[in-house]
């Protein structure tokens, strides 16, 4: 990358930190992210439900994997991203990063809830129980509580910047849980099965069953981008409610015109 292109990229990145620029960016790309996410997940779901053969042991119940595993990965990835944004916001006091960190929480909580609920529904026919205080299940439940804690803390404090800092700190501390979730099936005797799918190395899942999973993984990521931008845009507008550009955006005459 030559220096001119690099400068342009840095300038664009700085400009994106400005609330009106971010609003335009989010308004433009949110529908595309949702649409691409929906299409990609549609391909994945079609493959998962109609193309992939039933598992020789678990029958068709294994099809739950195609929503359970991508959601579980997202639940952890979104938490890590939230902590990353929160750390940037705390160190460099970048307002947009506070907004983005807090916008991660509801979507991450949604993916965690999907993981727990679909895991429970899958567990009933396979394990004979809806729930077990197994290390993987319990740590994932704690992750949901952490998400709810971040959301609750952000909502409980009136000053938006102080609220984001307090909730962001909880997010950063909560990152310590992620490796515990990841390695829980290795460290402890777990009812939950061990790692089946590997990003690096050979998966123990048959190759004919893998493709829809990757479609779903990409689809959930794209969907999350749409959700993140939409939530961040709403929070950005709430914070900037008194500013003229928001008034103009809302399609109303400004105070100057009324005079």
């Amino acid at each position: 990358m030559n220096s001119s292109a690099k400068n342009r990229l840095v300038r664009w990145f700085h400009q994106l930190g400005s609330p009106p620029t971010f609003d335009r960016f989010a308004a433009r790309w949110t529908p595309w992210a949702y649409l691409l996410g929906l299409l990609t997940m549609g391909i994945g779901l079609y493959g998962a439900l109609f193309q992939v053969p039933a598992d020789y042991q678990q029958g068709d119940s294994f099809r739950i994997l195609y929503i359970h595993v991508p959601s579980a990965w997202m639940s952890m990835a979104v938490f890590a991203l939230m902590a990353f944004y929160a750390a940037i916001a705390l160190i460099w006091r970048i307002k947009l990063c506070e907004i983005l960190a807090m916008a991660c929480a509801p979507s991450g909580a949604a993916f965690t809830l999907i993981t727990l609920a679909t895991g429970s529904i899958w567990g009933k026919p396979m394990w004979g129980t809806w729930w077990d205080w197994d290390p993987r299940l319990t740590t994932e439940l704690i992750l949901l509580f952490l998400y709810l804690g971040v959301m609750g803390l952000y909502a409980a404090i009136d000053d938006r910047r102080n609220a984001a800092r307090a909730a962001g700190l909880l997010a950063i501390v909560g990152v310590a849980l992620l490796p515990v979730i990841r390695w829980s099936v290795v460290w402890w005797n777990s009812l939950h099965q061990g790692q089946t799918i590997r990003l690096l190395g050979e998966s123990s899942m048959d190759a004919s069953m893998i493709a829809p999973l990757w479609w779903m993984v990409v689809g959930t990521h794209l969907w999350f981008v749409g959700s993140l931008l939409a939530r961040a845009r709403a929070d950005n507008l709430r914070r900037e409610a008194g500013k003229d550009w928001v008034g103009k955006l809302a399609g109303h005459e400004s105070l100057e015109q009324a005079r």
């Binding site: 119940s61 529904i121 709403a234």
Partner: protein
């Protein structure tokens, strides 16, 4: 399809939560813009009331 009800229930949960994930920010955005419009309308009314007073 074996375990059909479980598969349907799991996918229904997924669809319902994703729908919420789509609708919730849309509603938040609408509420934020509505609050801005109300704020602008209140400000405009205040200015009009002040101008009327001065004209008297």
């Amino acid at each position: 399809m074996s375990y059909r009800d479980y598969v349907i229930a799991a996918y229904a949960v997924f669809a319902a939560i994703m729908l919420w994930d789509y609708l919730a920010p849309k509603l938040q955005l609408r509420a934020a813009l509505h609050a801005v419009r109300q704020r602008a309308a209140r400000s405009a009314n205040r200015v009009r009331a002040t101008n009327t007073e001065l004209e008297r």
